[in-house]
Symmetry: C2
């Protein structure tokens, strides 16, 4: 079976690496000349709206999916007339607009921070009256990794924020002082089977995911709440593949921040720490195969490498550490790889993680301790 | 780092798939026009003795290795002058000649079935006098998967065997009525670190590996004996990478059948059943990285798919089953893929293996029962 992927970044690359053993082959479509998936898959360099390229992709593929959420929904609609496309165009389209996304959460009684549509300056003032400070002003579209958003803490932040973002479709959201962040990843097959990975506890740094850890050390009731919400969304979209929800935990309260209709950075631990990785399960789903188990094999922590790869030697001497280099060149802020550290249980993971301390920054070490608990 | 591989079969393909996450890139050299590694690596189609192609490979690669044991040792010698080549040319050359191989075993006091060199018909008669019947007449070179060998059970088998094989360099070996077969796989790094995978219990069918299981249920003393022999060979060759010994078990006696200076079919279980797969550890070794742990994660059984891939759907519904399709077309006798079934322990593996019974032939089912023990 030949799989087409819109987008040729690291998610696409890791999908292909997980898919070859299933007997799948891959073509990625991406406008960039050098994409890291091209080392392991055929690369068609073309714009996502290039009809000839889309025709060609549909022609040579049995199923098409995507690796990032800003693929034009119109292109997906165009492809759907020619070839099965998963996970679900509606989820993609909704996820591309924060206001539509959060409105759906509200409709489904999925708890989410207060929000309001902001098109004009008067809208902003009215929204602030309702939501209060602190709040976050965000573009409704094309935001990721903390881009396109400004935190408003005092009235003085209003004017510069409006200067920076005003003039496009915006949303004002309540700023949540959360205790920590987590995410739930689920997968649904073509036949409607659903499976959930254990919740991951996440730590962002400057808007970019820095660390994920499993188990998340979340009360069981909250885990079940998160899974129930995710299940509702999977059914709502008649979704096929992996869907991710990012959540805030505040006391005993859970709030959904956003959804990502694709494999997700916070699921990378599953490559070495779960029976079946999120990449394989996404492919099993879209290829019409039975799902694999999402169970964790022990405890895991994932560390993102941002900007450049660290020296591999010292890290790879750590027992249970697995390396994931995306084959990219270094560039500030760029996700270039990650490491998964896996152990039999949380106690052993905390022990093994000690070896990371001399290798990471003081800040990263604090984040690792946060994610694994004070006992590290 | 760019890795060159002589040979572009499934071992090369699985090596590449294991190597991309380490940040490695791959070029395979193979004379066949269609090799399954070419789906995931650059393929140079040329003969192994084509000097221009070897020059080119050495030019673009940082390290060169191989995926099968019949690569001409002369080509390796030629490459060595231009580029580091691992695991070890001496092991390759010795392994290509059964008589040299067994003579080394004898020199190192590694127990092996009785053997004698046979160039002429009188040699054969003398060897039979010494070794007795039953015995196996084999070509000294180019044999694999049971090819180039004939079992002699009675005096009547002599003449047809000589008709079939006489005229080339031969070896007569004692026929061992073993209780079962097993293999030990070890890996040695550039710095001389050595690690061993747990012994696998193997079942061949018509000379081709059918099943491997871990744990092998071998007495600890025999496991240690096998590892000690392997360690001796690793040191002897100043070996870098994965080396495999195939063994016969007869009562409390262990006999080495042959060695394979490469990753091995009986180590495929390690892809899903060990902390680090044999493919990744071979690459870690040749790339100068620290070795990963060879420890098993639970119990595993590997089933080879010969000739054609079975229907994937039913197999992939089995909990803990992992699929490995080599992307080859079907052909009688060809290794086209395998499945690894993994569980927390042998008891759970026996339970999970029940689901295989309706999906495999009666013969395969017997082999599975043999490998996992009567309790299945």
């Amino acid at each position: 079976m030949h799989i087409g992927v819109l987008g040729g970044g690291q998610l696409s690359r890791m999908m292909a690496l997980a898919g070859y053993p299933l007997g799948l082959q891959f073509t990625v479509l991406d406008p960039s000349p050098a994409v890291c998936a091209s080392q392991v898959a055929e690369h068609v360099q073309a714009d996502y709206t290039d009809q000839a390229a889309l025709d060609d992709l549909a022609q040579r593929c049995d199923v098409i999916t995507w690796d990032f959420e800003n693929v034009p929904a119109e292109s997906v609609a165009y492809l759907e007339a020619k070839c099965p496309v998963y996970p679900a165009r509606e989820a993609l389209a909704l996820g591309q607009d924060r206001w539509h996304e959060k409105s759906l959460f509200r409709e489904l009684n999925i708890a989410t921070p207060k929000f309001a549509m902001v098109d004009t300056r008067p809208d902003l003032l009215a929204a602030l009256d309702d939501i209060g400070l602190p709040a976050v002003l965000k573009t409704r579209r094309m935001g990721y990794d903390g881009k396109g958003q400004v935190v408003l803490r005092t009235q003085e932040d209003l004017e510069p924020a409006w200067q920076q973002l005003g003039g496009q479709a915006l949303i004002l959201e309540q700023f949540v002082s959360f205790d920590f962040e987590c995410s739930v990843i689920g997968v649904r097959s073509r036949k409607g089977e659903v499976a959930f990975y254990p919740i991951a506890r996440n730590r962002h740094h400057r808007g970019v995911l820095s660390i994920s850890a499993v188990p998340a050390r979340l009360p069981e009731a909250l885990s079940q709440q998160a899974q129930a919400w995710l299940q509702e969304l999977l059914e709502r979209f008649d979704y096929v593949g992996v869907l991710t929800l990012e959540l805030f935990v505040r006391g005993s309260e859970l709030l959904v921040n956003e959804m990502a209709p694709r494999v997700h950075n916070s699921g990378h631990w599953s490559q070495n720490g779960a029976v079946t990785s999120q990449f394989e399960n996404h492919l099993r789903a879209v290829a019409g195969l039975p799902l694999g188990s999402c169970d964790a094999r022990g405890a895991s922590i994932m560390l993102n490498w941002i900007g450049e790869m660290p020296k591999v030697q010292a890290f790879m001497s750590i027992p249970g550490l697995h390396w994931h280099d995306y084959g990219k060149s270094a560039r500030p802020g760029r996700k270039v790889g990650h490491a998964n550290l896996v152990a039999d249980d949380l106690a052993q993971l905390r022990e093994r993680a000690q070896a990371l301390q001399p290798l990471v920054t003081a800040e990263q070490w604090l984040h690792i301790q946060e994610c694994l608990g004070a006992e590290v």
